[in-house]
């Protein structure tokens, strides 16, 4: 009935929006849920792995400690290489069906999706964080060591805060990639945006109209996310002005100074 009413392109778009908007919204919600959780967990994993992989092997370490650290590093390297070196779509199949067959664990598609995106992002973020850490000037480590701070104190209060600020653009990259790449999870029937679009398109034989809408929804999501993360970046840079405090000689001096230079 209503289908008969739609004959032109615009009418079809209007009809699909009207009929399927709750589905699109749900699909977009699931896409966001999976990519947001996956990016945050992956970022956390990346920080932990990046920090471990940059622990310097001290000559003072005893044999056991050295061997242990080398073993851990080797395992982490394997993890990174395997998950960076295989397509996420294939990982999804292997993990989802493998868990069911070998371990008899029947994951719900959404949890499986979150798990896959998390460990996949973790592998990339581990290298991004490591890059961020080794790009920090050696002088920062030396200065911290020279006042007696240990490696971990230096890492957590001096180096990591600077490294994280520097890798925020890369984090924003990962997030955007994740929003788009959750579409491959349709292979394990996660009902995210792409999966829902496919059903809607198939039911009406209207591929162009449906996927044009899908396209716009994806873009709105990614654009919003990049804007929000850019805002965080600016926030982390700290205030661009500072106050000169009154001294004993000039107690009334309370001047605000703008930046001399921006890094």
């Amino acid at each position: 009935m209503e289908v008969d009413a739609a004959s032109t392109f615009l009418e079809w778009v209007y009809y699909i929006l009207l009929t399927y908007w709750p589905l699109f919204l749900r699909g977009a919600g699931i896409t966001l849920l999976i990519s947001l959780t996956g990016t945050i967990v992956g970022f956390g994993l990346g920080i932990i792995i990046g920090v471990i992989r940059t622990i310097p092997i001290d000559q003072n370490f005893n044999f056991l400690k050295k061997a242990f650290l080398k073993l851990i590093n080797f395992i982490l390297l394997c993890y990174i290489e395997v998950f960076r070196g295989t397509p996420m779509m294939v990982q999804a199949m292997v993990i989802f069906y493998g868990a069911a067959m070998v371990y008899n664990i029947h994951l719900s598609p959404i949890y499986a999706g979150i798990f896959i995106v998390s460990i996949n992002t973790g592998a990339y973020m581990a290298e991004i964080v490591r890059g961020g850490i080794i790009s920090i000037d050696k002088g920062q480590f030396e200065a911290a060591h020279s006042i007696g701070m240990t490696h971990s104190q230096t890492m957590f209060s001096i180096v990591l805060p600077q490294a994280i600020r520097n890798i925020l653009p890369a984090l924003s990259n990962e997030f955007v990639i994740n929003i788009k790449d959750t579409s491959v999870l349709s292979v394990i029937s996660v009902s995210e945006l792409f999966f829902i679009s496919k059903s809607a398109a198939g039911a009406n034989y209207r591929f162009f109209e449906v996927f044009l809408i899908t396209c716009i929804v994806y873009f709105i999501m990614t654009f919003t996310v990049t804007r929000i993360l850019r805002y965080f970046e600016i926030l982390l840079e700290g205030p661009s002005v500072y106050t000169i405090h009154g001294s004993q000689t000039v107690p009334e001096a309370e001047i605000r100074i703008t930046n001399r230079e921006r890094q």
Partner: protein, 246 residues
């Protein structure tokens, strides 16, 4: 006199390159020792060995008679007693001026926040940077950065302070403000070891001047002798070249 640091037969090798050969010298409490010499003579390496930023290949470094290269003393404890000021300042760029001077006291000396802040303010006031406590390092000038770096080292209340060419990375007009702070510190009786190219500073402020050339200490004497009547030919040639350039 009470010897704070004593170096015996110190040797440092980078690969095939022997940078320090059999270094022997000592620093007593309250002394200001300036180390001079051409680039590549091993001055900075010696200083970095004293603070364990480089591990010496061979020899002994005694701190109050105790060998610090044996592991009976933790590196962190020793380093906290031996302050260091770098050529490139190396202020923590994610922290404000005040936080730079507070963090070591809290993390290493386990001081209370309020106490650490008070101590930091005393030293920031001393170097004339108390007004800038809220500034980030990239917002202040080179001379100001170096003065904050000195305050950061002093906040740890070290027994001796090592300076690694503290004015070499500064614009000429900022050298004076840093040297003035260092002169005041020397007068206050702080033990200092200064690697420097500022000959006037070495002549006027140092109790002793050490001249190094290709990894060995050539001459170690009071400034009057080194600058007016050097005993070694190499010292004479170096000083002539340096002073003629001025």
């Amino acid at each position: 006199m009470d010897k704070i640091i004593e170096v015996r037969h110190l040797k440092k090798v980078f690969g095939e390159n022997e940078v320090l050969t059999d270094i022997n010298f000592s620093v007593s409490k309250g002394e200001v020792v300036c180390i001079i010499g051409a680039s590549g003579s091993g001055k900075s390496t010696l200083l970095r060995c004293l603070n364990l930023l480089e591990l010496a290949t061979d020899g002994q470094i005694l701190f109050h008679g105790q060998d610090i290269m044996q592991h009976d003393m933790s590196n962190a404890v020793y380093r906290a007693k031996m302050g260091m000021v770098f050529q490139q300042f190396n202020l923590f760029s994610n922290l404000t001026v005040l936080e730079n001077c507070v963090i070591g006291q809290i993390k290493v000396l386990k001081r209370k926040k309020e106490e650490a802040r008070k101590k930091a303010m005393v030293y920031l006031e001393m170097v004339g940077m108390a007004q800038f406590i809220d500034a980030k390092p990239h917002q202040i000038s080179g001379g100001q950065k170096q003065r904050v770096a000195i305050a950061r080292a002093l906040s740890m209340e070290p027994e001796a302070l090592l300076f690694d060419e503290p004015t070499s990375a500064l614009d000429p007009e900022m050298v004076g403000e840093v040297l003035k702070v260092m002169k005041d510190l020397a007068k206050s009786g702080l033990t200092m070891v200064v690697v420097t190219h500022e000959m006037a500073f070495a002549r006027d402020v140092a109790n002793r001047v050490v001249f190094m050339d290709s990894g060995v200490i050539v001459e170690d004497d009071v400034p009057e002798v080194i600058f007016n009547n050097p005993r070694n030919e190499r010292t004479r040639v170096f000083l002539k070249r340096i002073l003629d350039e001025r």
